[in-house]
Each structure stands twice: as structure tokens, then as C-alpha cells.
């Protein structure tokens, strides 16, 4: 068996003392920057790139990869504990994870995130090892029309399955779309709503929106409660999930892993799409769909598994084609070229110890992360007992550092400040921020793909239905709307679930 021979070569490489050490350093650093809101893996890897000059290319890549998936682990911690999604992929984790924490189940939520990530990491690593070349071809067959239809499905799903009023959800998504329009139009080069301010030419950064709407607004809301401050920190129950929790968690982890492994291969926001998709999917099929938004364990298990699986499989286009699918992968290309390795299909033949060593190290790294994180659960939960007068200023300072370091621009802090006031108003009006964020992320991408699909088809709208992938996605969307529109089906569904 080739695969076994290759994997044993990989493990022999990954388990050498030096590589183990650097994998550990990478994972540790990644967890730390993941926990700190706003400081992302891109900035960290960029800063550490010169340090790797002196290392062997395999060791360097193992460490940098460790930072990347370590950050995916750490990112969920702040999302769950203080409702601060530091990474776009942990936005949905914040929704139910934070509600779990409020109900005293912070430990369970953290465990679920860690376990889901570990399981997904293991499976995705195997997927990477076994099917990398075949999966890369899949990414090529995805054209602009298909992307557009995928996003339509995502947006419609978000409206239908949001927990509150549908009207509010639609309004919030439209609001997100409007915010997303700020910046330069890709096709014509026209400036939209930039008021001549250079910091707005490229649009508002996602992290600013997430920090403002979730983190800062949360802090303001809590401060305005005065004496009635939530005291959920005192009723932290057991750290470990019960058997019942496990039974609910496991299937969600399986589904999230599958979804994440597939969507991770797509370039541009695979991890984000996959966590949103996993959440929507869980909510759709869960027996406990009414619990979503109030602390459903599936709402943590699904997206967390999905984004970690996606983080792993996003290496596929890089390793097999030499095409980076996101900013972190672009940095990996940089790290390879520094060592005179041309990223692409030839890496597998010319540097097998690098290719398989990196893959094996991902499994080793995932194991390390679990060992690193599980004993820390208690420590993280203790963070919640820090008095707010210390916790809040600290959160605000870290957030400011985070948004500043996005591109070393003070304007980001002002933008976040303005958005946080806006987020506070929304919270007061009882509007959910998550659909808005989804609109903000997907809206501009949707427009881009829609217009590109039409340029490529010379203006023929039929491109969306003549394309088999696009067509099936649109049919699925139509199906969702039908379920939504026909109340009797919805009713029957609820009855069916009650009989279970």
C-alpha cells in the first residue's frame, strides 16, 4: 500500500525530536494568538517567517502550519467565554457557545469545541493523505456561477433558519450587504460610500465588524445593566459533558467534519463558509432546533468540526497545485519559495518527506492541541470569574491591538468604535448580529461571482441553470423556500419530531 508507506515516511519525519518541538511551539503560539481576540494567524506567521530561514523547510512548514490550526482551536475559546469571535470562522461558535457559557456550561462548550476540532482534524488529515489530488480537481470544476448559487443557498438558509423574526433577519442581512458594499467595485473600479477616505477604499475589514458588533457591543450592553449584571460565572457546573451531551454532539461532529472537508478545498473563505453552512445544516435537521441560539450543543459541535476540517483540507490546493486558497496559504507559499521549493504537484515527488511529514505533523499537532487544551479548560473557565472591571478593559485593549494589527492602521480602531455603538443599538432593538455578518461576508462575494459569471457567459443568465452544480444548488434553495412557505409541511415536521 502506497498510502501506508507514505504515511510511515511522514510519521518518521514528523516524530523526529526537532520537528516535534517546532510543532509544539507552533501549536502553543497558535493557541495563544487564537485566544487573544483579533490577533490572527496571518500576522503571526508573517512575523515569524524570517525566523524560519534557518530551519529546514519541513520543520519551518510544520511550525507555521501548527500556528494556523492552533489558532482555529484557540479562536473558539474567546468566542465561547466572552462572545468575541476573533476569527471569521468562530462567529457562529459564539452564537450558541456563549449561550452555553451563560447557562453555566462553559466547560462543556469548550470540551465540545476541542473534541470536535480534534476529530475533524484527524479525519481531514486522512482525507488529505488519501484524496488530495482528486479533491483538487473538484475545486477547478467550481465556476463563478456555482459559487453564486452556493451563496444564494447560504443566505436563504440563514434567513429561513434564523431563530427570531424573519423580517428582522432579512433586514439585518440587507444591512450587512450594504456595509459590505463599502469600498471599490471590482468590475468598474468605482468607489462606493468611501467619502474619499483611503482607509475605506478596500472596504471594512471583517474583524472590525465582528469585534464591533459582537465584542464591544456586548461589553456596552453588560455595562448598561448596572446592578443586574449577569452572574453566570458563579454557576459553572461540571467541565465534562454528560452522556446525553455526547449523544447529541457526536452526529453533529460527523456532519460538520464532512461538510468542512469538502468546502475547505474551495478557495476564498472555505473555512468561513463551512462553519456557517454547518450551523445552518445542524439547525435544519436537529430535533432541538428551538434550542438553537439559546445554547444548543450541536451549534458548537458542527461549526467547530467544520472549520477545523476546512483548515486542514485548505492545504490541498496548495500542496497539490501550488495555489494558495487563503492568506495563510499564501504565506506558506512564501515560506516554501524562501527555501527554493516550488509549491505545486512536483512537491509530492521531489520532497516526499516534506509533503508527508507536514500531513503527519498535522495529526500529531492536533493531538498536542487536545492535550494542551483539555487541562486548560478549568483555567479558561476561571477567566470568567475575573471581575468585569478588570476583564472588560483588558478585552477592549486586546481588541484594539487586534484590529490595529490587521494592517497597522489606526482607522480600523475608529471604524470598530463606530460599529460597536451601532451594534449596541441593534442589541437594544432585539436584532441578531449574526445574519448581518453573514450578509456582510457573503453579499460582496455573491455580487462579484454573479457579475463574473455573466461576463463569462456574455450576459446570458442561463449560465446559472445550464451548469449542473449551480442548478442543483439552486434547486436545493428552492426546496428550502418551499419548506418555509408551506406551513403544513413545517407543522408536520414538528409533529414528527415530537413523536420521536
Amino acid at each position: 500500500m502506497d498510502l501506508i508507506a507514505n504515511l510511515s515516511l511522514g510519521f518518521a519525519t514528523a516524530l523526529s525530536l526537532q520537528n516535534l518541538l517546532y510543532a509544539f511551539i507552533g501549536c502553543l503560539l497558535g493557541t495563544l494568538i487564537g485566544v487573544l481576540p483579533g490577533i490572527g494567524p496571518v500576522a503571526t506567521i508573517a512575523m515569524l517567517l524570517p525566523v524560519t530561514y534557518g530551519l529546514s523547510p519541513t520543520t519551518a512548514l510544520i511550525m507555521l502550519a501548527g500556528i494556523f490550526y492552533g489558532a482555529q482551536y484557540g479562536g473558539s475559546t474567546t468566542a465561547i467565554l466572552v462572545n468575541l469571535p476573533g476569527e471569521s470562522s468562530s462567529v457562529v461558535t459564539a452564537i450558541d457557545g456563549y449561550q452555553m457559557a451563560r447557562r453555566g456550561k462553559a466547560g462543556t462548550a469548550l470540551f465540545t469545541a476541542g473534541f470536535g476540532s480534534f476529530f475533524a482534524g484527524c479525519v481531514a488529515t486522512l482525507v488529505l493523505a488519501a484524496f488530495a489530488p482528486a479533491l483538487a480537481e473538484l475545486a477547478f470544476s467550481f465556476g463563478p456561477a456555482d459559487y453564486f448559487s452556493l451563496m444564494v443557498l447560504g443566505l436563504v438558509g440563514a434567513i429561513i433558519l434564523s431563530s427570531g423574526s424573519i423580517l428582522k433577519a432579512i433586514c439585518m442581512i440587507l444591512m450587512g450587504l450594504l456595509l459590505g458594499l463599502i469600498g471599490t467595485d471590482v468590475n468598474s473600479g468605482v468607489m462606493r460610500y468611501t467619502f474619499g477616505i483611503p482607509a475605506l477604499f478596500d472596504g471594512i475589514d471583517f474583524v472590525c465588524v465582528a469585534m464591533g458588533l459582537f465584542g464591544f457591543a456586548e461589553v456596552i450592553s453588560n455595562l448598561s445593566l448596572k446592578d443586574k449584571r449577569e452572574t453566570f460565572t458563579n454557576k459553572v457546573s461540571g467541565l465534562w459533558p454528560s452522556m446525553a451531551d455526547f449523544k447529541r454532539m457526536l452526529p453533529a461532529v460527523f456532519r460538520g467534519t464532512t461538510l468542512g472537508s469538502v468546502l475547505g478545498i474551495l478557495p476564498g473563505g472555505g473555512a468561513v463558509l463551512s462553519s456557517f453552512a454547518a450551523y445552518t445544516f445542524e439547525k435544519k435537521i436537529s430535533k432541538y432546533s428551538d434550542e438553537f441560539g439559546k445554547g444548543a450543543i450541536e451549534g458548537v459541535a458542527g461549526p467547530e468540526s467544520a472549520n477545523n476540517a476546512a483548515a486542514q483540507t485548505s492545504f490541498i490546493p496548495l500542496l497539490t497545485m501550488g495555489i494558495p486558497s487563503n492568506a495563510v496559504m499564501a504565506l506558506m507559499v512564501g515560506a516554501m519559495t524562501i527555501h527554493n521549493i516550488t509549491p505545486g504537484p512536483q512537491v509530492m515527488q521531489n520532497n516526499p518527506e516534506l509533503f508527508w511529514g507536514l500531513i503527519a505533523s498535522m495529526w500529531v499537532g492536533n493531538l498536542m492541541l487536545v492535550i494542551l487544551n483539555l487541562p486548560m479548560l478549568g483555567v479558561w473557565v476561571k477567566l470568567l470569574t475575573i471581575p468585569y472591571r478588570f476583564l472588560y478593559p483588558a478585552i477592549l485593549v486586546f481588541c484594539c491591538i487586534g484590529v490595529y494589527s490587521l494592517n497597522s492602521n489606526v482607522a480600523n480602531i475608529y471604524i470598530t468604535a463606530i460599529l460597536s455603538v451601532f451594534g449596541y443599538v441593534l442589541a437594544k432593538l432585539g436584532c441578531e448580529a449574526a445574519p448581518m455578518l453573514l450578509g456582510f461576508v457573503l453579499g460582496p462575494m455573491m455580487e462579484e461571482y454573479f457579475r463574473r459569471a455573466l461576463i463569462l457567459s456574455q450576459g446570458s443568465y442561463s449560465t446559472f441553470v445550464t451548469n449542473p452544480i449551480s442548478l442543483s444548488l439552486l434547486v436545493a434553495t428552492a426546496g428550502l423556500i418551499t419548506i418555509m412557505a408551506v406551513p403544513s409541511i413545517k407543522k408536520k415536521r414538528q409533529e414528527a419530531f415530537q413523536e420521536d
Binding site: 477547478f140 505545486g344 497597522s408 492602521n409 456574455q458
Partner: protein
Amino acid sequence: MTTSLLSRRTFTRLLAATAVAGLGCFGLAQAQTYPTKPVTLVVPYPAGGANDMLGRLIGQKLSEGLGQQFIIDNKPGAGTLIGATVVAKAPADGYTLLVGGFASNAVSPILFKAEYDPLTAFEPIGLFGTAPMVVITFPNSKYKTLKDVVEAAKAKPGEVMYGSSGNGSPLHLAGEMFTAQAKINLTHVPYKGGSAHILDLIGGRLDVIFDTSTNSTPLIKGGKVRPIAVSSKTRMADFPDVPTFAESGYPDFTVNGWYALYAPAKTPKAIVDRLSVELQKVLKQPEVIEKLRGVGVAPASGVASELAKYGPDEFAKYTKLIKDANIKAD
């Protein structure tokens, strides 16, 4: 122990401060000791791209040569304007430099309303590399030469698609210059940077991309895309079988990416000269030459006077092209 250490440190600082204050009066003396503290190299791109990598390479080598740390500061955004503006407004003391080039010093100030004049806001230190454009297509496409592309475009105007990384990118301007010179009509499909345009090319949805050699070299070596022409004056060492634009019948096609080091205007000449001399030394190191070539960049001389002519020439060329083709910003 601690107290004596502290006071000694304060004393040294005082000494240093006096020394620096004294030196300020004498430009020459300042240049002889320059640099006395770390130098910031502003890269107007996010970390990870070709510009960032070249900036880090040159910065590291200048550190070794001048004995002070050269720190990379990534200030991306607004088509490099944000980073370039920071340097244009920085003190002209040689401690804030710009890793500039095609976008910051030629194209972006034409497309956007810049807060600086690219012709007067900077002191040229030296050009350190140029990256020719390579026309690429997917491996089994029907286009074998530039002539095939032109013929297809003449047969069906507007149906041959070329992708770019955005309006005003080198990829776009190269496409516009080619359509103007070949008198054909190609459809431009802009993308938001990244690599999505490459995926659509490999997937056969786009026909060609006029790509920079820094991007396309690894893809060509990996067999994922096929080169059909290069914009360098002579054939590229890596692809000896690929004809130049001139050989293909377009001798006036002159778009290429370029990378240069700039200081803010009015930086003392002695400091600029010191940096330029050091840059020239760096560019002669075999290791640097090899690393630049490895990413598809042809090393340049690093001579300041050469850049003083090259930059304005590029600015004039693209001002005309952008006006003729009616290109707007991205």
C-alpha cells in the same frame, strides 16, 4: 546593583542623545554614522506576497551590510497608497523607507487621488528588480502563440476572455496595452487579487492571463498552465522555448512589474548614496541573485540615477495608457 546599572544606562543614553544632537548639525557626519537605530521598511502590501518577500530579502541583506535592523512594516490598502503616503510624510532622515514600484510610484497615483506626487515625494535609492509579464493559458487550450489569440479575437471580437487580479493591476494594464497594439477586442474579467483567476484559467473558463512572472513561474514549472509569450527583452532563462513579445511581432509591448527602494524627498544625499551603494552590493551577492531569479524577478543594478529616470518614464507611460483605455481604479 540595580541602581548603579540604571544610572549607568541613563548616562549612556544622555551621551548618545548629545551625540545625536551634535551630529544633526553635520549632514556628512550623520551619513557616516547612519544608521544608528533600526530602519523601517514600509511594504505597502499585506505579508506574504512577492513585494513583501522581496522587501524582507533586501531588508535582511541591508541589515547585514549596515549593522542595523531593517524592520518590515506592512501597511497595505488602497492600491499601495496608504503605505506610500506614510513614507511620503515621514521625516526625511533615512529611517523610514518605501519598498515601492509599479503601483505606488506609477499606476496608483494615476488611478486614485493620492496625497503625494509620485514624481517629487520620494528620493530614488535604487531599482532592485523587474518582473516580466508572461502570457499563460491552460495546458490543452487551442492557443499556442500570441498570433492564435489575435486571430481568435479577430474572428469573434469580445469572446476571448482574459483575467486579471483587478482594475489597474499590471495584469490588466498588460492586457490593455496588448489589445491596443494588436488592435483587437478582448474581454477583461477582473478578480479581487488572490488566486481565483488562476483557478478559472486552469478550469478553462478564461482563455489567457497576462501574469507577472513572480506569480506564474511556479505554476508553469508545475505544468498547471502553459506559457505562450514573455515580455522580457530576451527569452527567460527558466523558459528558453517561450518566445518574447518582440519575436511574436509586438516589439513595443513594455509592461513589467518592478521593485525599488525609495526614501522621503529631501533625505540628505549622503544617506541616500550610502543606501544606494549598499543596495548595489547586495544585488551582486550570488545568494540574492539566485533568490530573486527563483521567484521570477530579474535583478537590477540598484543605481539611484537609473531609478530617477525609470520611475518618471513608467509614470508617463501608464498615464497615457490609462487615459487612452479609459481605465478606472480598483
